[in-house]
């Protein structure tokens, strides 16, 4: 396997507040990697550093190409789809317009990509004329995922997908993420509060604490780790 995304000594700040103090992590092509950790550890900021929505320094390479100086729109056009916390769907636009926006960075016909996405989210086609704001929270999260997938990304950045969703929906969401990973070869970097769930879905994980990597390993290793179990899994 080759590394699709590499972060080396990445720092980020919001104004005077330092959030990341040198993050180094690797995401292998075709894998699902989880970023775990308590609130304020810098999980979301790590994703934002990759997609360029926060000021960052250090080295970030995507498919071997440095992206640490690119803005968010340029990173997106390289094939990185970022589903931000709070979903980033356009509630004032229709479901269909949201999906079309997902394919914004693509050239040529988007119909095959749309059809493919509808095979994973068939209910979306009945709702295509509806404003996205009228969907339930779970539906909006699915729409955000679908929209990200329409762009046929090489890397999906998924921020707290379980936030505010019923457990049934969360399970369904992670099932689809797994399916996209297995069938379509989609690489995923997911930030998740629910460590239990994330470790089940992911191949590998990094644990962040106060802007630094505290631990890393395969999901199996971390699940067996006593410190992780006590702090994050609760057993």
């Amino acid at each position: 396997m080759t590394a699709l995304l590499e972060l080396e000594d990445v720092e980020a700040r919001y104004g005077p507040v330092h959030v990341l103090h040198g993050i180094t992590l690797t995401v292998e092509e075709g894998s699902i990697v989880a970023v775990l950790g308590p609130n304020g550890a810098g999980k979301t900021t790590t994703l934002r550093a990759v997609s360029g929505t926060v000021r960052r320094s250090g080295r970030i390479a995507f498919a071997g190409r440095p992206i640490d100086r690119l803005g968010p729109d340029a990173v997106a056009r390289l094939g990185v789809a970022h589903v931000p916390e709070g979903r980033g769907t356009f509630s004032e636009l229709t479901v269909w317009e949201n999906l079309r926006l997902g394919a914004y960075a693509r050239r040529g016909s988007i119909d095959p990509a749309l059809e493919r996405v509808l095979s994973y989210f068939p209910w979306l086609s009945h709702r295509r004329r509806q404003d996205a704001g009228t969907l339930s929270g779970g539906e909006q999260q699915m729409l955000a995922l679908a929209r990200a997938f329409v762009s046929r990304p090489r890397l999906l950045l998924l921020d707290e997908p379980s936030l505010g969703l019923a457990p049934v929906l969360v399970a369904e969401l992670f099932r689809i993420v797994r399916e996209l990973n297995e069938r379509e070869g989609l690489t995923v970097l997911v930030v998740e509060q629910n460590a239990h769930l994330a470790l089940q879905a992911a191949h590998a994980a990094y644990v962040l604490e106060a802007g630094r990597i505290a631990l890393s390993g395969t999901s199996a290793e971390l699940q067996a780790d006593d410190a992780v179990r006590r702090s994050y899994l609760g057993y």
Binding site: P84, G86, G88, E97, L101, G133, T134, S136
Partner: protein, 336 residues
């Protein structure tokens, strides 16, 4: 964490409710149109004033459309929109002086207006827009004064004359004489509105512009070049303003540096009446203002021609007090 784009959450609003909100307005407009029709059939003067009012209203609507476009794209009210329109009308006049035919000059001017609008956005608005919308609004006020000065400096303040795009022909319908110009202006307005609507509704560019205006951060994440969208929005608004200026000059106003100033007031009233975010609202608002002002001056002795502009202001204030979302506004204003 700062500046994280947050979703407003599941909203209760849906298409049905939006339509339900509009329908009383539609009923009102249909009733008003019926009233106008009856009036037109009973009195030639009334009909004459109505037709003229529709043409003037179309001019207000065109400029209101430009205001709405900039507001939707950047969340900024462009106080210089009228002056920009005036400047481009001078450019058209100059091109005609240099020997271009009217329609050659017309389309060349639209192209120049587009470039001018985008350049102004990039050079003057973009550097301050990320600070606050208010800063950008203040820049547009400065731009107003700047354009005024530059035009005066280049072309002087004496009156200029621009030929009518639709010729001097006058139709006589019953006892009413309708200059061909009037329906011409009206058609230009309707075509402009349809083009804007088609752009926003059906094209990828329009979708990107709407996304960039609604949620810039989220739009960037799907690969929309937000800065470029905003610049294009300003360019298109300048084009619509140029249309307004070119239609204004032959209809009632003389080409001078103050050409668009009264029109800007009416266009503001029209845009606010229409809800500030709705292209259709801007057009309907323009027509309502145009027709009602023309009729009021004739039939309400207290309102003289001098009071037309204050009356437009009164409309603006009343709408802002009673129904800030205007006739077609779908939601309350989320940002300032």
């Amino acid at each position: 964490m700062a500046a994280v784009e947050s979703s407003p959450g599941p909203s209760l609003r849906n298409r049905g409710a939006a339509l339900g909100g509009i329908s009383p307005v539609v009923v009102l407009l249909v009733a008003a149109s019926a009233g106008l029709l009856v009036g037109c059939l009973r009195s030639e003067t009334f009909a004459q004033l109505t037709v003229q009012g529709l043409a003037l209203g179309s001019v207000y609507g065109s400029l209101a459309l430009a205001l709405v476009l900039v507001y939707r794209a950047t969340g900024v009210i462009n106080f210089a929109q009228g002056e920009l329109a005036m400047a481009t009308t001078y450019i058209a006049w100059q091109l005609i002086q240099w020997g271009l035919s009217y329609w050659e000059a017309f389309f060349a001017t639209l192209g120049i207006a587009f470039v001018l609008g985008t350049v102004l956005e990039v050079v003057l608005i973009r550097p301050v827009l990320h600070r606050s919308a208010i800063a950008a609004v203040i820049v547009t006020v400065g731009l107003f004064i700047l354009i005024d000065g530059v035009v005066d400096w280049i072309w002087g303040s004496d009156l200029k004359y621009l030929p009518s795009p639709f010729g001097p022909r006058i139709y006589h319908v019953g006892g009413v004489s309708i200059a061909r110009l009037y329906p011409g202006i009206f058609v230009v307005l309707v075509v402009s509105m349809l083009l804007v609507w088609t752009l926003f509704r059906f094209t990828k560019l329009g979708l990107g512009m709407r996304a960039a205006a609604l949620r810039p951060a989220a739009a960037a994440l799907v690969g929309v070049r937000v800065d470029r969208m905003l610049a294009i929005g300003w360019g298109l608004a300048a084009v619509l303003g140029a249309v307004a200026g070119l239609m204004a000059e032959p209809s009632q106003f003389f080409l001078q540096p103050t050409l668009m100033q009264p029109i800007l007031v009416y266009a503001f009233a029209a845009a606010v009446l229409g809800g500030l975010e709705s292209p259709a609202g801007a057009v309907v608002g323009g027509l309502v203002i145009g027709v009602s002002l023309n009729l009021l001056v004739q039939y309400v002795p207290a309102i003289t021609t001098n009071l037309q502009t204050p009356f437009a202001f009164a409309v603006l204030i009343v709408v802002l007090l009673l129904k800030p979302s205007g006739l077609f506004g779908r939601r309350e204003v989320r940002r300032v």
